[in-house]
Amino acid sequence: MRWHSKAQPGSVVSSFRGDQGLPCVSAAGTMSEQAGDVRPNPSSSKARRCLFGPVDSEQLRRDCDALMAGCIKEARERWNFDFVTETPLEGDFAWERVWGLGLPKICLPKGPLGGGRRPGTSPALLQGTAEEDHVDLSLSCTLMPHSGERPEESPGGPGDSEGRKRRQTSMTDFYHSKRRLIFSKRKP
């Protein structure tokens, strides 16, 4: 299922992939060696070393899940949208389902890892998403005009969402007049 947010056009966070509550900018790694790779092979490199001793995979897993859960919670509050169950919540943004706005197939999750999904998302975060939903179901959201809070997010480091004076403009900022305001047309 695809949700489209019009409220913050042009920013990095402008389109959400429903299965993770994270933006659609591809994070997929270049996993396979590319043909014609000109970079040296690291196998016998002197830079090949483990710096701080063995890594506890279990602890990595736990910390990763905890941090991801934090990110998803933050995104839920930020966008009043539950990205786990894909449900709009009460808040500044009015979410509306949009039909037939399928993105190019190239944007859909695929790849050698995780059988069509990004790895790294624990199964609990993936529930309620069906593969075929990605093709032509979408949602758009609009900022409710009553909100006094500016929707912009600071691009700084973690935990700095407040107290910043400036923000980067993007080309779509100049399209305010074309925004359509939707008040309470919410669908689950």
Binding site: G29, T30, G36, R49, C50, L51, L60, M68
Partner: protein
């Protein structure tokens, strides 16, 4: 029959866009937004319990070695360090995760800046397989989330061309100045005391240090170092005294790094392995102060 052999650089790069580099608005915009991408605090004091400053230096040195060996674009290493610092400024991290984090940051910076980016497998081999590609990809999402997907951070490299084109230097010297300045920028990225400095100041200080260093070899300099600093300060709206201090710090770090390297070279008891772990970027090793 004659054979023609054409060797072409296999890496595709965009040409320098004069419309962007010769427009002051671009420089002004960079100066306006650069501070947004600085780490929010000096995290050794207020966030991290397990990680010590020397560990940052260790991971930074390792990252620089990997970037140099993999012939990454110059911006990749400072950008990766920016991600690392911004993440650490917000998330308490055990030291056992630090190398994984460094690898993730290189992975992201390489994807943002390079036409054919570093692979996850390769980076994992560089950690001596202490992490798995799967873990790297999982943590990639964590880091992206914590950085709020704001990856296009301003780095000192973004300022170099803007600064160089305003200096009264002969064309033939520019490429050497550029190369030295780039090396100083890498050196600054390995040292935490520069982590909170605005990128424009590091860039300006690096160009200043590069020119002053190169002028020492010549009998007649076109500009005294003081006059140069004043000119540079004007270009990036930096305070002259701050800039002087920054340039001196860069020169001190360079000197320190060179002495360390030469000490290691003289010290016959050190193995070659340890020599290569010296934190001196290879390009600086030829510089004479």
């Amino acid at each position: 029959m004659e054979l023609l052999c054409c060797e072409v650089d296999p890496i595709r790069r965009a040409v320098r866009d004069r419309n962007l580099l010769q427009d002051d608005r671009v420089l002004q915009n960079l100066l306006t937004i650069e501070e947004r991408y600085l780490p929010q605090c000096s995290y050794f004091k207020c966030v991290q319990k397990d990680i010590q400053p020397y560990m940052r230096r260790m991971v930074a040195t390792w990252m620089l070695e990997v970037c140099e060996e993999q012939k990454c674009e110059e911006e990749v290493f400072p950008l990766a360090m920016n991600y690392l610092d911004r993440f650490l400024a917000g998330v308490p991290t055990p030291k056992s995760h630090l190398q994984l984090l460094g690898a993730v940051c290189m992975f992201l910076a390489s994807k943002l800046k390079e036409t054919s980016p570093l692979t996850a497998e390769k980076l994992c081999i560089y950690t001596d397989n202490s992490i798995k590609p799967q873990e790297l990809l999982e943590w990639e999402l964590v880091v992206l989330g914590k950085l709020k997907w704001n990856l296009a951070a301003v780095t000192p490299h973004d300022f170099i061309e803007h600064i160089l084109r305003k200096l009264p230097q002969q064309r033939e010297k520019l490429s050497l100045i550029r190369k030295h300045a780039q090396t100083f920028i890498a050196l600054c990225a390995t040292d935490f005391k520069f982590a909170m400095y605005p990128p424009s100041m590091i860039a300006t200080g690096s160009v200043g240090a590069a020119i002053c260093g190169l002028q020492q070899d010549e009998e007649v300099s076109s500009l005294t170092c003081d006059a140069l600093t004043e000119l540079l300060a004007k270009i990036t709206n930096t305070d002259v005294d701050c800039l002087k201090a920054c340039q001196e710090q860069i020169e001190a770090v360079l000197l320190n790094s060179l002495q360390q390297y030469r000490q290691d070279q003289r010290d016959g008891s050190k193995s070659e392995d340890e020599l290569d772990q010296a934190s001196t970027p290879t390009d600086v090793r030829d510089i004479d102060l």
